[in-house]
């Protein structure tokens, strides 16, 4: 009996270990398949035409600059919304709100994170876009700004939850020290708590931005899908097209193995690398901050 027990234990342990390692495997597989289908694009079209400013694959114009600029404009707009609102809400929840309020706000913000992006896109088309068109007197309501507003909302839960964690982990003694010196709650938040949680808040912003760059359905539905090179903040008020939306809109219609197909995978590769970089930097910021906290406390 003991023998069979130890065999079972051995096999289960190995299975569990393999499951743990599988995360590495999946990231590897994802990268491998993006490379496998995306790299051929580089031999089929030369780099200069990839960096062209025209995206019109039907006539073999596959410049991805307009798409990159579209993603940047929309994301930048989203960040301008998500950062103040996200951090403001996080500060409110962790520093100001009474307990009962916190118990209501936290699940509510989580709920926002759970809303399907198509539902937000759908409301964007029906409610937000017509409103913005009339309000700002634009030819169309389907603009980068519409996308930014919705994306900002989508990024808020990420920013709130990470930033709130960071604020929460600031030792109480810091705040009490400031109060003892006669600082108001408000001064304490600005001069003590937020600076102490700086790196965590930074991580929150980065992860929020990462979330925004990767969002697909909402932007595809509300940004008007015009692959025009965005040149300035003025582009906020005109239709644009992001990298994610391009893949989602066109992948269904291309022939497998065609140049267009490979270029779409190439764009996916670029997105993958962006998210990899953002996340690695974000997690190393947190890591370093933890190290420092440990040093201070020990």
């Amino acid at each position: 009996m003991e023998k069979s027990l130890s065999w079972r234990e051995f096999i289960i342990t190995r299975l569990i270990q393999a499951s743990g390692y599988s995360a590495i495997l999946f990231v590897g597989l994802i990268f491998f398949f993006l490379l496998r289908e995306g790299l051929p694009a580089l031999s089929e079209v030369d780099a200069s035409s990839l960096l062209n400013i025209r995206w019109y694959p039907l006539e073999s114009h596959v410049g991805i600059l307009p798409l990159i600029s579209g993603s940047l404009v929309v994301t930048l707009g989203a960040a301008l919304i998500a950062v103040p609102f996200g951090i403001g809400t996080a500060v409110y929840i962790s520093e100001i709100a009474p307990r009962w309020m916190r118990e209501i706000l936290k699940p509510l913000v989580e709920l926002l994170g759970g809303l399907p992006s198509v539902v937000l896109g759908f409301l964007g088309i029906l409610v937000l876009a017509p409103f913005l068109r009339v309000f700002l007197n634009l030819p169309t309501g389907l603009t980068a700004l519409t996308g930014s507003l919705l994306l900002g909302g989508i990024a808020v839960p990420t920013v709130v939850s990470v930033a709130e964690d960071a604020l929460d982990s600031v030792p109480r003694a810091y705040r009490e020290g400031a109060w003892a010196l006669g600082a108001t709650k408000w001064q304490t938040i600005w001069r003590v708590t937020l600076p102490a949680a700086k790196s965590g808040v930074l991580t929150a912003v980065m992860l929020g931005v990462g979330r925004a760059i990767g969002e697909t359905m909402t932007v595809m539905m509300v940004t008007g899908n015009a692959p025009v090179l965005a040149t300035g903040l003025g582009s906020l008020f005109s239709p644009v097209r992001t990298m994610t939306a391009t893949i989602a809109a066109e992948m269904g219609e291309v022939a497998n193995g065609s140049t267009h197909y490979h270029v779409l995978f190439f764009i996916g590769m670029v997105l993958f690398i962006i998210s990899l970089v953002v996340n690695i930097i974000a997690s190393s910021v947190v890591f370093r901050a933890k190290k420092r906290a440990e040093r201070i406390l020990s």
């Binding site: 027990l5 079972r8 234990e9 342990t13 299975l15 569990i16 270990q17 499951s19 743990g20 599988s22 995360a23 597989l29 994802i30 398949f33 993006l34 609102f85 403001g88 809400t89 706000l105 699940p107 509510l108 989580e110 709920l111 926002l112 759970g114 809303l115 399907p116 992006s117 198509v118 539902v119 896109g121 759908f122 409301l123 088309i125 029906l126 409610v127 808020v156 600082a183 108001t184 408000w186 001064q187 992860l207 990767g214 969002e215 359905m217 994610t244 893949i247 989602a248 992948m251 269904g252 497998n256 779409l264 995978f265 997105l271 993958f272 998210s275 990899l276 953002v278 996340n279 997690s283």
Partner: protein, 288 residues
């Protein structure tokens, strides 16, 4: 510094600051509640037995959305079949077995990265690996597998947190009574961590149920006049259907659009509420 702290206006500043930040919170919260209420109100009138149990006809401009509802159920279950055991096992590895070394750090980094990869990139990956390379075709199987990998980081991280919250002393005592590591986990740790794990699982599946981009090229069908017969069939799904009828079908009756959005929202919100309830009830009951 001191003089600033002591300045006379600081209480006015504080009051203004609190007002400003409260406004920020209100502006954040109102749209959330607004969205939900708006869709509940607008979509409510579309809901009927026929709508929930009928097939679409007249180019989807009439009839019901049964195939989309069933499809989303299938995809959610399919995702659960793969991601729940794998995710929990990975969480067990990280919380109970892994040593603090280079490999473990790499696993954690991989999980963080999985969580950050854009959903449409998961779609590309699913297309490349499951649809084309493994030749599953555009199918429930391929879409579920794609969604599973996307859901994995959510399940792993919440389950790991739940496992770690179980007091260390239970492990020590169990081992000291002659239990093996796995006996300790299966008889005590998993049971105690169950509510937390369940919360994570539901939140992960909630995300999978609402996603469109990963299934666009891996399993979603524009229109199917029947229910899928096997895991190798493509399927309609609520989020994709909403996308289709709100952007791809001209002269689509607005009622059906709101109705579909409502059903999707209820599907997702129900999961969210269940998760929240499980979590808060477990917290209240916990004896350690």
């Amino acid at each position: 510094m001191m003089t600033k702290f002591l300045s006379r206006n600081r209480h006015t500043v504080q009051r203004l600051g609190f007002i400003a930040i409260t406004m920020v919170v209100i502006v954040t919260i109102i749209p959330i509640i607004g969205t939900i209420v708006f869709i509940l109100v607008k979509g409510g009138s579309a809901i009927s037995l026929e709508f929930l149990s009928g097939f679409p006809h007249d180019g989807m401009r009439a009839g019901g959305i049964l195939p989309a509802i069933i499809g989303t159920l299938y995809l959610t279950l399919g995702t659960a079949v793969f991601s729940v055991p794998l995710g929990i096992a990975a969480a067990i590895y990280l919380s109970e077995y892994a040593k603090d070394n280079q490999v473990t750090r790499l696993i954690r980094l991989a999980i963080i990265n999985l969580a950050g990869i854009p959903s449409v990139v998961y779609g590309l990956f699913g297309l490349g690996l499951f649809v084309l390379f493994l030749k599953f075709g555009t199918s429930i199987l391929a879409a579920s597998l794609t969604l599973s990998i996307m859901t994995l980081p959510v399940i792993i991280s919440t389950a790991e947190e739940a496992l770690r919250a179980v007091p260390q002393s239970f492990r020590t005592v169990s081992i000291s009574l002659g239990a093996t590591r796995w006996q300790t986990i299966s008889r005590i740790i998993l049971k105690e961590a169950l509510p937390g794990i369940l919360t994570g699982v539901i939140l992960g599946l909630e995300r999978a149920a609402g996603e469109t981009a990963p299934i666009l090229f891996t399993g979603a069908a524009f229109f199917l006049p029947r229910l899928p017969h096997s895991v190798f069939d493509a399927t309609m799904a609520l989020p994709y259907h909403l996308f289709v009828i709100s952007t791809q079908v001209p002269e689509m009756p607005i009622q059906i659009q709101y109705g579909t959005a409502l059903v999707l929202l209820v599907f997702v919100l129900t999961m969210n509420v269940i998760a929240t309830v499980i979590r808060s009830r477990a917290r209240a009951r916990r004896q350690w």
